[in-house]
C-alpha cells in the first residue's frame, strides 16, 4: 500500500476501499494512486484549504446548548467514498421501491386504512405513533404524495450488504453538505474528475424545484415557492438558505407569512404576495399554533386550514412522521409486500419491537448485546449502545422499557463498514453510513450520490453530526466498464 496507507488495518470489518487481503478494490485504484502519492503534509494542506473555505463561506451548522451559538464547520474528510455503477443501481431500485410503498402506506393510513383493517399493521401501533395526525385524516394532499423529499440512511454489514437503518420522511437534512462537499472536492482534486466517470449531483437544486412546482395548486401557471425556516438560530440554517439559493426561491420565516381568507401570503415591500408551495423545514408540531403546539412562535397561524383547503402545498406533507416511527420502520418489509407484492430490495436491520411481548423479553434479557432506540428520537439521541453501556445505564433503560415498551425498539449491534479517514499522519478506518436523497415529484428520482457520514471517533458507531460525526463526498460512477478500461490503461 502507498505511503499514507502503510499502517492501514481493515481489522476484520468490511472496508469500503480494501479487500481483506489489503489490495484496493477496483473502483478505488485510480483514486489511491493519486492520494497515495501525497505526502502527509501535502494532504494536510489540501484539507486545511478546504476547511478554511468552508469557514469563509459559512458552510456551518450551529451547535445547540452553547451560549455563543457557535457555528462549526461540519468536519469533512477529503478521501471520497466511491460507489460502483452496479451497486448504485441496486441501491436506487431499492430506494424507489421503499419510498413508493411508504407513500402508499401514508395515503392509506390517512384515508381508507385498508392495511389496518387487513391487520397487516396493528392499528394500535399507528394510532399510538407520536407523529400520527388524526386531524388530517381524509384531507386530500396534492397528487396523493406525502413524502416528497426523503433521506434514507443506509449501512453495510460485515459482508458489505446494504441495509436500511432508518427512513427520514419529515425534514431530512444534509443535502447542502452533499453539494458543498462535491464543490470542495472539485477544487481539491480537479484532475481526478477527468479520469473517473463520476456522476454529477449539482442538478439537485433544479430537481428539488421541479418536485415542489409539481405540487402547486392546479391552474397556477407560475407558482410561488418558498423555503420556510425556523430562523437563523436553527442548526441547519445554512442548509435552508443554501437550498433556497440553489432553487432561486425566497427563504422565509413564520413571521414573514400571514394567512388571509385561507390563503397564505408573504409580507413584501410591495404588499402581500400569495405563496403556493412551501418547502418547510419546520416540524408539524411547530407549524401552526392554531392546530398543533399553541406556544410555537415559529409557525404561521392558519396555515393548516389553507393546506386543508388545497390553497397551499406543503412538502413534506403533514403527518409523515408516522413512517419515521422506529416501530413502524420494523414493519416496512410487510408494508412493501402488502402494497407492491414484492420483497424488499434493501432489507431492514433485524428489529425487536418493545410493543411485542416476546421481542420485549428478548430485549430486556440481552441489553448488553443490543442497541436500544427510542422510537421518535433522531440525531443519535435517546440511544443505548448495549455493549458499551455501564450496568447502571442498562438498568435505567430496562426501567424505561418496562414502563413504556411501545416507545422502544432494539437491534443487534451492526459491524458497520469502514472507510479510510485521514488522521494526523496517515489513514485509519472509521465507520460510515450513507444518506442518499430521494425526490418524489411527477416520478421518483434518486440523486446519484449522497452524504457519507463518518464516525470520527475511533471505534465509534455513531455518525450523526450532532454527536461529532463528519462527512465525505460520495462518488457514484457512470459506468463500471469504463472505469475498468481506465484502470487497464
Amino acid at each position: 500500500m502507498p505511503g499514507l496507507f502503510n499502517r492501514y488495518q481493515t481489522s476484520g470489518f468490511f472496508d469500503e476501499v480494501f479487500t481483506p487481503t489489503s489490495s484496493p478494490r477496483p473502483h478505488y485504484r485510480a483514486l489511491l494512486s493519486r492520494v497515495g502519492s501525497l505526502q502527509p503534509s501535502e494532504y494536510s494542506a489540501l484539507q486545511n484549504a478546504v476547511d478554511a473555505a468552508f469557514l469563509r463561506m459559512g458552510v456551518t451548522f450551529t451547535v445547540y446548548g452553547d451560549e455563543q451559538g457557535t457555528e462549526r464547520i461540519f468536519p469533512f474528510d477529503l478521501m471520497p467514498r466511491i460507489i460502483p455503477h452496479s451497486e448504485w443501481q441496486h441501491i436506487e431500485t431499492g430506494l424507489i421501491q421503499r419510498i413508493t410503498a411508504l407513500n402508499l402506506f401514508l395515503n392509506d393510513i390517512y384515508h381508507g386504512q385498508k392495511i389496518l383493517a387487513d391487520k397487516v399493521v396493528p392499528a394500535e401501533l399507528v394510532v399510538s405513533a407520536a407523529h400520527y395526525r388524526p386531524e388530517f385524516r381524509g384531507v386530500r394532499v396534492p397528487r396523493g404524495v406525502y413524502i416528497h423529499i426523503c433521506g434514507t440512511d443506509l449501512v453495510r454489514d460485515d459482508r458489505g450488504r446494504y441495509f436500511v437503518l432508518e427512513d427520514n420522511g419529515r425534514c431530512p437534512s444534509g443535502a447542502s453538505y452533499m453539494l458543498e462537499n462535491r464543490n470542495a472536492m472539485k477544487r481539491a482534486f480537479p484532475a481526478l474528475f477527468q479520469s473517473l466517470p463520476v456522476r454529477p449531483v449539482d442538478s439537485y437544486g433544479t430537481m428539488l424545484r421541479e418536485t415542489l412546482a409539481h405540487l402547486a395548486p392546479r391552474g397556477v401557471a407560475d407558482p410561488v415557492i418558498v423555503v420556510l425556516t425556523p430562523g437563523v438560530h436553527n442548526s441547519a440554517y445554512f442548509e435552508h438558505c443554501y437550498l433556497a439559493r440553489q432553487m432561486g426561491v425566497p427563504i422565509v420565516e413564520g413571521r414573514d407569512l400571514i394567512v388571509r381568507g385561507e390563503r397564505v401570503f408573504m409580507r413584501t415591500t410591495k404588499g402581500l404576495c400569495q405563496v403556493h408551495v412551501i418547502y418547510r423545514r419546520i416540524d408539524d408540531d411547530f407549524l401552526d399554533p392554531l392546530v398543533f403546539r399553541p406556544d410555537s412562535m415559529l409557525g404561521v397561524p392558519g396555515i393548516a386550514s389553507a393546506y386543508r383547503r388545497g390553497h397551499v402545498a406543503l412538502a413534506n406533507a403533514i403527518g409523515t412522521g408516522v413512517a419515521d416511527d422506529k416501530a413502524v420502520y420494523a414493519l416496512v418489509p410487510k408494508i412493501i409486500k402488502y402494497y407492491l407484492d414484492q420483497d424488499p430490495i434493501l432489507p431492514n436491520v433485524k428489529t425487536y419491537l418493545g410493543v411485542n411481548k416476546r421481542d420485549c423479553s428478548h430485549m430486556l434479557a440481552n441489553l448488553d448485546k443490543l442497541v436500544v432506540k427510542a422510537v421518535n428520537e433522531s440525531g443519535g439521541y435517546g440511544m443505548l449502545m448495549g455493549p458499551k453501556a455501564s450496568k447502571k445505564q442498562r438498568e435505567e433503560f430496562a426501567v424505561r422499557i418496562r414502563k413504556n415498551p411501545r416507545n422502544y425498539i432494539a437491534q443487534p449491534v451492526l459491524n458497520l463498514s469502514r472507510h479510510p479517514v485521514f488522521v494526523g499522519q496517515g489513514f485509519e478506518g472509521r465507520h460510515v453510513d450513507l444518506r442518499p436523497y430521494v425526490l418524489y415529484g411527477d416520478r421518483v428520482r434518486v440523486v446519484p450520490g449522497g452524504l457519507t457520514r463518518v464516525a470520527l471517533r475511533k471505534g465509534s458507531l455513531v455518525v450523526n453530526s450532532s454527536q461529532g460525526g463528519g462527512s465525505k463526498d460520495t462518488w457514484v460512477l457512470w459506468d463500471d466498464q469504463k472505469n475498468q478500461a481506465l484502470e487497464d490503461r
Binding site: 469557514l55 469563509r56 463561506m57 459559512g58 430562523g231 437563523v232 440554517y237 438558505c241 433556497a244 439559493r245 425566497p250 427563504i251 422565509v252 420565516e253 413571521r255 414573514d256 400571514i258 388571509r260 381568507g261 390563503r263 401570503f265 408573504m266 409580507r267 413584501t268 415591500t269 410591495k270 404588499g271 402581500l272 404576495c273 400569495q274
Partner: protein
Amino acid sequence: MLSRVADSIYWMARYMERAENTARLLVSTRDLLLDAGSEGTSQERLWGAILSATGDEEGYFALYRRIKGRDVASYLTLSRENPNSIVGNVQAARENARTVRDQISDELWECINGLKIWFESVAGRAESRNQTVAFHERVLLGCYHFQGVAASTTPRGESWHFLRLGTCLERADQTSRLLDTCSGLSREMPPHPDAQPLRWAALLRSCSAWHAFQTRSSKLDPCKIAEYLLLDETFPRSVAYCVREVKSALRSLYGHEIRGAAMPDPVRRAGRLHADLAYAEIGEILERGLHDYIDDLQTRMIRIGDSIFRAFVLYADLTPVGVPEMIAGPLSNVSGGDFAEHQSQQ
C-alpha cells in the same frame, strides 16, 4: 422582496457603515493626540467628546469610573458589553447578512464573514488586544472591501436601494455628529497653540475629507469645513450628498413620479430635507447655532428612517384583506408608533 429582508439589508449596511466610522474616528484621534502632545486634561476632554459623538457615554460610565483613552478606545473597539463597538457592529451586520444570505452575493457574505473570522483569529486577537492602528486599519479595509463588493455585485433593484438607504442615512448621521462634537470642542481653547487647526484637520480625516477639502482651500477655516461637510453635494460623505442619495433611492423604490397628496411619506420627508440643504447658507446656520441646526437635522433623519420602516416593513400588515394577488404601491401616509431600533440579536 420580503419586508424582513429589506429591513435586514438596510441594517446590515447601517452597521457596517457605523463600524467604519468608529474605526476611522479612532485612527484620526490617535493621530491627533500624537500631534497635539500629551496634555492630560485636554486628552480626557477629547476622549469624552468622542464618547458623546458615538453616543456611548452612558454605557461607558456604567463600566468605568473615569475617562481614560485606553479604556474608551477598547470600549469602542471590542467591548462585549457595548453592542455599538466595532466588533459588535460587525457581528450585528453579519447576523443580518446571515438572515438574507439568499439575497446577497456570496462575495458580499464572505467579505463580512471574513472580517469576523479575522477578529477571532490569533492575529486579529493580538492586534485588538494591543489596540494597534493596524487593527483599525484592517477594519477600515474590510469596510471598504464591503462597499466595493456591494457596489460591484448588487443588482440595481430593491436590494441595492435598501443598501444605499442604510449606508447613507448612517453616514449623514455620523458626519453631522462628528461636526457637532468638533465644534463643541473648539469652544474650549486647548493649551497648545496649534491644537485647534489640528482638531479640525482630525475632523476632516475622520470623515475621509482631508484631501478633498485641501484641493478646495488651503486654510483650515472652521466655517468652510462645516459648510463642506454639511452642504457640499460633490463630497460623498457630506450630509447633503447623503440625503440626496436617500431621496434618489426612495424614488427608485417607488419607481414612478408621485406628486401631491399621493406622494409617499418617506419621499416627501427626504425631498424636503434635501431641498433645505440644497438652498441653505452656512452663514445663517452659524448664526442660528450649529449645534441646534445639527440637532434638528438628526431628528429629521430619524423621522425619515421611521417613515421608511413603516412604508416597507409594516406596510404589508396594513394591506386590505382578501386581495389574492400582489398589490402595488405602498401606502402613502401611514401613521404608526415609534420606530424601535432594530434588534439583530433577538
